[in-house]
Homo-oligomer: 208 residues x 2
């Protein structure tokens, strides 16, 4: 099946949205926790989350255009703090539910629990096994569609015991972290293996 | 296990790189195909690939700092065209190998096959089941670590028959697309299910 630019724009909107959202491949749903200066907490489900760098440790999140209220984005810009919490299979439905348009805090709405640690202003999700506290660094406006990339620096990591290998590899599969495709499809995973750092003229080797 | 900002910076570098790279969760290895004006082709393996928008259809790729030669980035800026090709289990080792520092074209080096279609200047990977042809739109420099976000608009889609559902959902799992975590760990996946669009006061429902 081959689609040109004009074929793509002629697709029915929901069809196009589903198709294009699937092209970036597997991703992971992340719960982002924030708190307004007024004290109201917010929890949102985001899948456009990206590794940006290690030194300093940076992550990026893409937000939809700020043409309607975006509590998570507004709280980040107001308080400069947020958390990213990985979702495992036992909290999948609550996490998905957090993406609804709630009037009240999504913590109250979904039953997930606020946790505060290390003087971090924004709430972590107590039920998550891998919790990341970040500080806002910069934002970039994507001209082509008015989305906003926010870059944060990692200030705190709270990780359940037993998940980090000797070389620093974090076994998110052992933490029952879910993979996601498109807007609504969830998957669990099986390890195939780790491959050694690629070198020319040496066929890739398994690490284990 | 709890790590503060200064604990993280004290970690041995390889350990920190592995750990921080795992935090963004599952992602998908994508082969990016380009061709210099001189005619030399290039193929690189990238995992920081993000859905940016549907109308127009946009994708983003994060490149490491341009302090050393980056053939993929240079070809994109020179020719304004590139392709993104999803990796399935039968081409995993060749795809991983493409990330080595080759002198010659990674197509020749790994045995993957160049494919040209729809007047797109950049080569697709013939063996891939999901191929995306893009045009460069804009770039953003991340001040915090000098990485570069490139945004491209989708101009061509070439997708194997039988992978797209009636509502546009693209079944990348049926295409044997691999998930990845960290720098080198590959995973296959099993569908748990699709969840209906989240609404307040209605517990999330399975779609199937």
């Amino acid at each position: 099946m081959q689609l040109s630019s004009s074929d793509i724009l002629k697709l029915e909107q929901r069809f196009r949205t589903n198709l294009i959202n699937c092209l970036s491949g597997f991703k992971t749903p992340h719960l982002i926790g924030t708190k307004a200066k007024s004290g109201i907490t917010n929890l949102g489900l985001f899948t456009q989350v990206m590794h940006v760098g290690t030194t300093p440790p940076l992550m990026g999140i893409l937000f939809r255009p700020h043409s309607v209220p975006r509590h998570t984005l507004e709280n980040i810009l107001e308080t400069k703090e947020f958390t990213i919490n990985l979702v495992h299979n036992k909290i999948l439905e609550q996490a998905h539910w957090a993406s609804g348009r709630w009037e009240k805090s999504e913590f109250d709405a979904t039953g997930l629990t606020e946790q505060y640690s290390n003087n971090h202003f924004a709430p972590f999700v107590a039920e998550s096994k891998i919790k990341i506290g970040l500080e806002f660094k910069e934002q970039h406006f994507i001209t082509a569609n008015k989305t906003i990339l926010v870059i944060g620096e990692i200030k705190v990591l709270i990780i359940e015991e037993g998940l980090i290998a000797e070389d620093g590899f974090l076994n998110i599969e052992a933490a029952n972290t879910l993979a996601m495709t498109g807007l609504d499809s969830y998957h669990d995973t099986n390890t195939i293996g780790r491959l050694a750092y690629a070198k020319p003229d040496v066929h890739p080797k398994r690490l284990d």
